[in-house]
């Protein structure tokens, strides 16, 4: 009697009275949702948000090729670069935290813990203002954004890498040492291949967070999807803010849900996998911004 509760067993198969109550609740819920939808409709109407004029730009291909797609590319560029750098940063520091040398372990641990606890926007602002005073004038929006995302998400990924390697059963490395492998062979040939499979779902979940975080670029005026949607488009097509927000919102949610679905699929696959002795490690509790 100690299996976990799944939502279906929180309540019984309904009897006649419960069925009546559920139907009443369903009806009430539907009325409530309809009422909210109607209030939103009324408010839109009052503020002239249903005028075809403000929705029209989104049916024209020029809006997409000229504004939305360049914005999306800006977002994807920042996300792609940061993802690659963060993975490198995460692997290096994650493995450094497992080093046999105390000074490497401790200093890597300090770096990871510090960057994890700095509010990301403060870090990006800092880098954004630091860059010109070190490298001279220029446009540092992309660099500041990518550097901030890399340092923060890389530190989170370092914890994932460390947890992944630690999750490989001790017998694996003992057996590898027993047949005469050296330290880096044990890591490279035995621990990492198994750990990577177990880490994959958590890594992909963190990439969702990273992709969401690229929207911070809006605040330092990096030309990403959010900037096009909230600054450029409403300025070009006066009054189109709400339609623009809906369009870019759908794009963000679509991208992230696709990545999340990939993470779930990977987790299920790695749970079944016989190529690793490690159960998938849980995703970080990071909520992104």
């Amino acid at each position: 009697m100690s299996g976990p509760v799944t939502t279906s067993v929180l309540f019984d198969a309904p009897g006649p009275r419960a069925r009546l109550r559920n139907n009443a609740l369903t009806l009430l819920a539907l009325i409530g949702i309809a009422a909210i939808a109607y209030l939103v409709y009324l408010r839109f109407d009052e503020k002239h948000q249903w005028e075809g004029r403000i929705w029209e730009p989104f049916t024209e291909s020029a809006t997409w090729t000229g504004y939305i797609i360049p914005g999306l590319l800006g977002t994807l560029k920042a996300a792609g670069l940061s993802a690659v750098f963060a993975l490198v940063f995460g692997s290096v520091f994650g493995l450094a935290r497992l080093s046999d040398h105390r000074w490497i372990r401790v200093s890597a641990g300090a770096v990871v813990e510090v960057f994890r606890s700095i509010p990301l926007l403060l870090l990006i602002f800092f880098l954004f203002f630091l860059a010109p005073s070190v490298f001279g004038g220029g446009d540092y929006t992309l660099i500041a954004l990518v550097a901030g995302l890399t340092l923060y998400n890389g530190s989170v990924l370092a914890e994932v890498v460390r947890a992944g390697v630690l999750a490989v059963p001790k017998g694996q490395s003992e057996a590898a040492y027993a047949i005469g492998f050296r330290k880096n062979q044990v890591m490279r040939l035995v621990l990492l291949p198994q750990a990577v499979t177990a880490m994959m779902p958590a890594i992909v979940s963190q990439l969702v967070v990273l992709l969401k975080d690229t929207a911070l670029g809006y605040i330092i005026a990096y030309v990403d999807l959010l900037n096009y949607g909230f600054r450029v488009l409403p300025a070009r097509f006066f009054g189109s803010l709400i339609p623009a927000a809906i369009v870019i919102g759908v794009i963000y949610v679509g991208l992230n849900m696709t990545l999340s679905a990939l993470a779930t699929w990977l987790e299920r696959r790695s749970r079944r996998s016989r190529r690793t002795s490690v159960k998938p490690i849980p995703a970080t509790a990071d909520i992104g911004e």
């Binding site: 929180l10 606890s117 809006y218 605040i219 992230n256 992104g288 911004e289």
Partner: protein, 222 residues
């Protein structure tokens, strides 16, 4: 170092705003998240779907978008207003956006807590005749809360750090804005940055430590 001392009062006032935002949003997002998760596991499919849709949409939307929308969309375009005073209005728009965003993560965290409550508990609650909401309120949720204190602490820490994004909602008072403003004046200042980071750590580290301790003390023994 001189910059830090010179601007310390401004920075402290800004940081206090972050603390205020954190406190208000913590209360609101915990309440809203609990309501959401109750709907998410309710016996009525319509409520379940509505809550799941909300959670999935909001948690996959960047917070920056949520906050920018609450200011530019909800307030400027649709005329939602909490107060005639622009800065008070902006404060509550940030609270609205940040709480709505955080609530979806609170709900997901609680749902993973509900999944740890053993089947026998729910069955026993039904056997003694508790209705769904009674068993949720008296049996399931109290145990679920105690199981997720540590992850909930992480969500709250992230929320505290996220108060810096308030700037996206045009609320120009909290410490990230003050820091940017100062850098605009004097150029980059490492002591100011480090000072603010330490201030945030002074809050987030105790929250992490306390929730970690509480989660061990209140763990449900099975």
């Amino acid at each position: 170092m001189n910059d830090l001392i010179k601007y310390a009062p401004d920075l402290a006032a800004g940081f206090l705003v972050n603390v205020e935002l954190s406190l208000v949003c913590a209360v609101l997002s915990l309440i809203a998240g609990t309501v959401l998760v109750s709907l998410r596991v309710a016996p009525t499919p319509v409520l379940r779907t509505a809550a799941a849709t909300y959670i999935n949409i909001v948690r996959n939307t960047p917070l920056t978008l949520v906050l920018a929308f609450s200011a530019l969309g909800l307030s400027d375009t649709l005329g939602l207003s909490f107060s005639k005073e622009p800065s008070t209005n902006a404060f509550w728009l940030v609270v609205l956006g940040l709480s709505a965003y955080t609530a979806s993560f609170v709900a997901e965290t609680l749902r993973s807590g509900i999944n740890t409550v053993s089947l026998g508990q729910a069955e026993a609650a039904r056997a003694i005749g508790l209705t769904f909401f009674q068993s949720l309120r008296l049996i399931i949720l109290p145990q679920a809360f105690r199981a997720v204190i540590a992850p909930m602490g992480s969500v709250m820490i992230a929320m505290i750090k996220n108060t810096t994004v308030a700037i996206a909602a045009g609320y120009l008072a909290e410490s990230a804005f003050v820091m940017r403003d100062t850098f605009d004046d004097t150029g980059v200042s490492i002591p100011i940055f480090i000072g603010l980071v330490l201030a945030f750590m002074a809050i987030t580290l105790p929250v992490g430590f306390l929730t970690g301790r509480l989660s061990r003390r209140l763990a449900v023994v099975r």
